[in-house]
């Protein structure tokens, strides 16, 4: 009788089975074979896309769409002037000008800039603005050389501002600082513009003898004869009252032959325009006073702009898409705990960190693809719907559109990884899902809610430090520091730069993942 040693059957461990991608493949199989999870990811895509039908239903302002059936009743929007660069601009101010031909110089001394907001009729509380005297931070008056008096024409200007010192601005989007501090009779500001062909150079001075170069504007298409002169613009915030800025000019020096000032309300004035009454030009002994409403600059969400809609409206469904994705991502690990599958998984892949990493890769990829498809569809479907109500608030380049779509995909992917990490930490479905949804949505609701603007002001802390800071990747309208616009959530502006917001969300996910990794290795499964 012979005895045979019993050799246990054991599959040799091949290198492939040790590999990380093998583990990823196993997790992918787990994911795709649960029908409910796949359906939930499809719901994510549908929720993002379908929301455009709600978010693009614009029925206020000049872009009114009174339902698809009676679109003909929509009020026509005022034509949006565009600047030399093709960007939408606001170009509304009071201009005391005279035609000048060829090269030359204009110099003034400014001794005063005051602002006045008309007092609201009794009982009317201005929306966010203060009634009564008040200079806005970007109220401005100064000297300007402009191609002609029509809106959107090329220009370069030197100006004093309410609280931003002396500035040189040209062609609507460019802004360079000069002397700081407010202008007054005791600290006057001297401003000078020198035209040399297609180049205009700005100087400022505190005493009229020592001049400092502030900036050089290249305006290559400037015609030989242009309008040079004095201007004022109140640059109001979003209150519908407007601010009247009044500048006092002395020692006006023109190197060109003087022909006398003509006062023009650039952009018009009257009850149907953004400017209630025309500005004024008063020429006294030794001093000239110019007063005007309006603003000169890019038309990005200001009251003088065309009121267009921002393209990021089409991606407003991201929030509804997040919820099913978060549920699935948390369950991707909590279901293993509930069923005891985690023991099998950890027996098959004893290196626990790698298991978590593999799950993160799979659920992150699922979130990314869902976000990519959903956002691309939403943009494709939503853009024509949005354009029914008029032109976009700001033209969006293909690169920006790509950033919005890819950024949204990344936002969903990182949120899914965050949910997976929280699920690993708490190991139970309902608390994990509730924690992630609350962490993401409660700060957002508070940012919009009845306490909005308290303490934080425009762009509160809520969307700077919480995961949804990542929504800034959807920002379609650039922010210009030289505009008085309420850069608030309600107007579609997020407080952080696009990728900075996404980095905040990544930091949350990374911290949660680190804690999950630590706990998964340390605890019994």
């Amino acid at each position: 009788m012979t005895t045979h040693a019993v050799v246990p059957l054991r599959a040799p461990l091949t290198p492939e089975r040790e590999s990380f991608w093998h583990l990823v493949h196993a997790e992918w199989t787990k994911f795709r074979t649960v029908r409910g999870w796949v359906i939930a990811v499809l719901v994510t895509i549908v929720a993002i896309t379908a929301f455009v039908f709600v978010s693009t239903d614009v029925s206020s302002g000049c872009n009114a769409v009174q339902g698809a059936s009676s679109a003909a009743t929509a009020v026509a929007c005022p034509a949006q002037p565009t600047g030399p660069g093709g960007d939408p601009v606001q170009d509304v101010f009071y201009f005391a000008h005279q035609p000048v031909t060829g090269n030359g110089t204009i110099t003034v001394q400014m001794t005063s800039l005051t602002g006045q907001t008309p007092v609201a009729p009794a009982g009317v509380v201005p929306d966010g603005g203060q009634a009564g005297p008040g200079l806005q931070p970007w109220s401005k008056a100064g000297i300007i050389i402009k191609e002609n008096t029509s809106q959107g024409s090329a220009y370069a200007a030197m100006m004093v501002t309410g609280s931003n010192g002396v500035r040189m601005q040209w062609d609507y989007v460019n802004d360079t600082p000069g002397l700081a501090g407010r202008v007054s009779a005791s600290s006057p500001r001297w401003l000078r513009l020198v035209r040399d062909g297609g180049t205009i150079t700005g100087y400022d001075s505190a005493d009229g003898t020592h001049w400092t170069l502030i900036g050089t504007a290249a305006l290559p298409r400037l015609t030989s004869t242009v309008q040079a002169g004095l201007f004022a613009a109140g640059s109001s915030d979003d209150s519908d009252l407007g601010t009247l800025a009044t500048g006092v000019f002395r020692h006006i020096g023109l190197s060109w032959p003087a022909t006398g000032w003509t006062g023009t309300s650039v952009g018009g004035a009257g009850p149907n325009s953004g400017v209630p009454v025309p500005g004024t030009l008063r020429q006294g002994a030794g001093s000239t006073t110019v007063a005007g409403f309006g603003d000169i600059g890019p038309a990005a969400g200001n009251m003088y702009s065309g009121n267009g809609q921002s393209l990021q409206r089409t991606l407003a469904g991201t929030s509804s898409g997040l919820i099913p994705l978060i549920v699935v991502a948390a369950m991707f690990i909590t279901a293993e705990y509930r069923r005891g599958l985690i023991r099998v998984s950890l027996t098959a892949a004893p290196r626990r960190g790698r298991l978590l990493a593999a799950k993160a890769v799979v659920i992150g990829a699922a979130g990314f693809v869902a976000g990519l498809v959903g956002a691309a569809l939403a943009l494709a479907v939503g853009t024509p719907l949005l354009l029914r109500s008029g032109p976009l608030q700001w033209p969006v380049s293909l690169l920006t559109e790509a950033r919005m779509v890819v950024g949204t995909a990344a936002l969903l992917a990182v949120a899914a990884v965050l949910a997976l990490a929280i699920g690993t930490i708490v190991r139970r479905s309902a608390p994990a899902v509730a924690i992630v949804i609350a962490v993401i949505f409660v700060p957002w609701l508070l940012a919009f809610g009845p306490l909005a603007g308290q303490g934080g002001g425009a762009g509160g802390w809520e969307l700077q430090v919480t995961p949804l800071a990542a929504l800034s990747v959807q920002q379609a309208v650039p922010q210009f520091h030289q505009l008085i616009t309420i850069y608030s959530l309600d107007n579609g502006y997020y407080p952080l730069a696009p990728w900075a917001g996404l980095a905040v969300e990544c930091a949350w996910a990374a911290a949660a993942l680190a804690l999950a990794f630590f706990l998964l290795r340390r605890r019994d499964a």
Binding site: S55, S319, L451, G455
Partner: protein, 269 residues
């Protein structure tokens, strides 16, 4: 001799079901932690909001009750989890089979669950809201919420209504969750649904640019409707009156409970 004759036939009374559910509640640590979470979050967030809120003028437009009850935003998520887990845990552990064997009258069992949940959440949220209101009463007058700015008293009938509204709101949300989890039988899906319904309506209302549609969303969403029940100033301008707001939340809850009861009655467990 028959053995069966000596055993009294079971009668499946509601009282027995209540006693059983109450025993389950008090012998498991989870629900107590959740209730503590409701109290802590309501108090902490409310105190933090009251400490940072400033009313500079009569036109500041801040509602002291809304400030004090800021904690309701996160606390309702915890109340929802309590509602979801009351039945969700039975499904996830398989306990539901034992429960329904012991109490075959499913609707009686469901009613007992709901009653015990009401008792828990009502108590916890009453404590939480009372504490938050007290904190607001102590802190807010020092932050500009004075009679000079139009806040005559922070203990009027209106403020009492706001507090009652907040307590009832939290309780109704827990019940809404109970109904939904009975309908879908899965904790994660149920909590996702509840929080989606709660949080997405106000966000959608803020995003839509059509003011009429936004107002409708604020009227039908349970969270904004529940907030209307907690308002003490500018009540006239709200999309709903306070009691209408609470009524909308109650309708959502009734709908969810009905759905849950029907599913429970007609389906295998």
């Amino acid at each position: 001799m028959s053995l069966t004759a000596r055993v009294a036939p079971p009668r499946y009374l509601l009282g027995q079901a209540l006693h059983a559910e109450w025993t389950k509640f008090r012998t498991v640590a989870g629900p107590a932690w959740l209730l503590a979470g409701v109290v802590t979050l309501t108090l902490a967030a409310g105190t933090a909001a009251a400490s940072t809120a400033r009313c500079q003028s009569a036109a500041c437009g801040l509602d002291p009750a809304t400030v004090s009850f800021t904690g309701i935003y996160p606390a309702q998520a915890v109340a929802a989890v309590a509602g979801v887990l009351a039945i969700g845990n039975e499904y996830s552990t398989g306990m539901i089979k034992v429960s329904l064997t012991a109490m075959p009258r499913r609707l009686t069992w469901f009613l007992a669950k709901a009653t015990v949940l009401i008792a828990q959440v009502l108590t916890a949220s009453a404590l939480a809201v009372a504490g938050a209101a007290l904190a607001g009463r102590l802190i807010l007058p020092g932050h500009g919420f004075t009679s000079a700015h139009g806040y005559a008293s922070l203990t009027s009938v209106t403020d009492l209504r706001a507090a009652v509204g907040a307590v009832l709101y939290l309780t109704l949300i827990a019940l809404l969750s109970l109904g939904l989890v009975a309908a879908v039988r899965d904790s994660a899906a149920a909590i996702g649904l509840v929080l989606g319904v709660l949080y997405l309506f106000p966000l959608a209302a803020d995003v839509v640019s059509n003011p009429a549609l936004g107002r409708h969303l604020d009227q039908i969403g349970p969270l904004p409707a529940g907030l209307d029940a907690q308002a003490t100033i500018k009540v006239k301008g709200l999309p709903l009156t306070p009691w209408q707001g609470l009524g909308v939340v109650a309708l959502w809850t009734a709908g969810a409970l009905l759905l849950g009861a029907l599913a429970l009655k007609s389906r295998d467990a």
